[in-house]
Amino acid sequence: MDFEFTKDQKMLQEEVRKFADAHIAPDAAEIDQSRDFPWKNIKKTAEMGLLGIIVPEKYGGSGFDYISLAIAIEELSRCCASTGVIVAVNNSLVTYPIVAFGTEEQKQKYLPALCSGEKLGAFGLTEPNAGSDVAGMETTARLEGDHYIINGTKRFITNAGEAGTFIVFASTDRNLKHKGISTFIVERDTPGFSLGKHEDLMGVRATANCELIFEDAKIPKENLLGKEGQGFMIAMNVLDVSRIDIGAQAVGIAQSALDESVKYAKERKAFGQPIGNFEMIQNMLAEMATQICAARFLVYYAGHCKNKGMPRFSRESAMSKYYGATIAVDVARKGVQIHGGYGYTKDYPIERIYRDAKILELYEGTSEIQKIVIARDLLK
């Protein structure tokens, strides 16, 4: 077992870290307040090849592995959780399914624009009445001639407000329940497809999170991804990969909380000394650092499993997301405690980090769902 990064992973980490510190961090507070989508910075991430990290080079991607994806998402999220999730979604929820399940035509048609930043991607799975219960989705698709006609609503879709390419799930046969779900690539200017409400969220506020509304939307039948009825399997497969990313995002958010807290503990004085000298503060910092380290290695391990092409690594990826989310929330909580009375003002980023952290336990499968996945796997 080799704990060292490969040479390119090491370079990736250094470059992305420098880039994120220089460009992503300075805008984080402002976009959180304004909820403006950070296009300028996203375009810069595209230039660095960060929007198509695991996409093969021949389609415009960077051709890296899944641990590299995790490294990049962690570094971005450390500076700005919103930016981290925008890039994560583009990579693992949009480019990945096309790479894994797309035809050659679909890959050539959609991947280059997704990698260059010309079109961003969004993943339309969640519905108002189907959150954890994915199979309970009510959006339907029926084949009429050369088109699928899609009807329904998706909610809480990250990047939706700015995306050009959408991966959308709909039921082509409700009688077959989860075996009747299919996947479609939907372009923004599809007739019958519009955007709805822009969500006002507690955290990760600059992600253009909107509703997708399908009213007899006409999707060309070539845009079916995989086969009819494979939708649920595709969704679960994609979520397994994206959970590595979200685990990485969690580690990044937690790391930012730790960095801020260490800085604060050194600077802030009470009773004539830096509060970092107080054992209670040291207690919290030690716990935070340990939690982050453990979570990070779980993420790398899940990435390693995917790299090795292990066919079922749901348990590992669920663990990496569940654990990452849990510790990130706890680390952020401790971070606010350490900042004491200043922990809830805008003057310190810790209050935004605290708000951002909570979403990790909710999206892409709540922590409860992750635990059920893990338990079921254990009890097989």
Binding site: P128, N129, T153
Partner: protein, 257 residues
């Protein structure tokens, strides 16, 4: 002027999960919040406003069990001078007619120029007590009153009917009014008033003073039940947006759009 207000303590069921109890004649009450019946709060406020305008005394009466004294105390804190509780537990199963008889038994011996009740109770919805009480006392009444004006010994009572019509009744005092919600803005009791009211004595009247045999009823409650779920209704749930989308879908499905 001597004014009387009749109030009732009812369970707040609007947002609660209501279940029928084992007797089949009542609801399970132990998890419910209780408060003064809504239209009674308006009736009480109208009574207090009248007392403030013409000066005099205001007595509040409630037919209820011991807990009703909390409601009577709030009424005292808001401005009533005296409070009487008629012990519901002494008179068996009550309906609107029995309640009116009990109130009459006490009120007939009190000075009363004007009596106020709420127009309807939100637990049993009988809407009987005020009007029945007026008849038993042999006095004129107006129900569902939305405005009252007093001009010497004449009272002008206004009732709002369907279609925005207003009915104007004139009568002389003493008279009884059942009050519609919205007639005024009920006040909150201030802390000092609450302190004082907490110490006041509430007169309690029961079967020693009122002969239970005199209080009769011509109907009895058979059972209380939730109506069976029909087949032609679809209950829509979810957020407003979701329901709106679904309604739009249904209307479209029925070919109405």
């Amino acid at each position: 002027m001597d004014i009387i207000a009749c109030i009732k303590r009812v369970p707040q069921t609007a947002e609660a999960d209501v279940k029928i109890d084992s007797s089949g004649k009542d609801i399970v009450k132990d998890r419910l919040q209780f408060d003064m019946n809504e239209s009674d709060t308006y009736a009480l406020e109208e009574a207090i406003l009248l007392k403030e305008k013409f000066s005099g005394s205001l007595t509040v009466i409630s037919v209820g069990t011991f807990d009703a004294e909390d409601t009577l105390r709030i009424a005292l804190a808001k401005g009533a001078d005296n409070a009487i509780r008629i012990k519901a537990e002494d008179f068996g199963e009550l309906d609107g007619y029995k309640t009116a008889q009990l109130l009459k038994a006490v009120i007939k011996d009190l000075k009363h120029d004007a009596i106020f009740t709420g127009c309807i109770a939100t637990d049993d919805y009988y809407s009987q007590v005020g009007v029945t009480l007026a008849e038993l006392l042999g006095m004129p009444h107006a129900s569902l009153v939305t405005k009252i004006e007093i001009d010497g010994n004449t009272v002008h009572a206004y009732r709002e009917l369907e279609g925005g019509l207003l009915e104007h009744l004139a009568m002389s005092l003493p008279a009884l009014f059942t009050i519609q919600t919205g007639i005024n803005e009920p006040r909150y009791a201030s802390l000092i008033a609450i302190r004082r009211a907490a110490k006041k004595e509430i007169k309690v009247i029961g079967k020693e003073e009122i002969n239970a045999e005199d209080i009769v009823s011509f109907s009895s409650l058979e059972k209380l039940f939730t109506p069976p779920v029909g087949e032609r209704a679809e209950i829509l749930s979810g957020t407003l947006d979701e329901i709106g989308t679904r309604v739009q879908g249904i209307v479209k499905e029925k070919g109405l759009l």
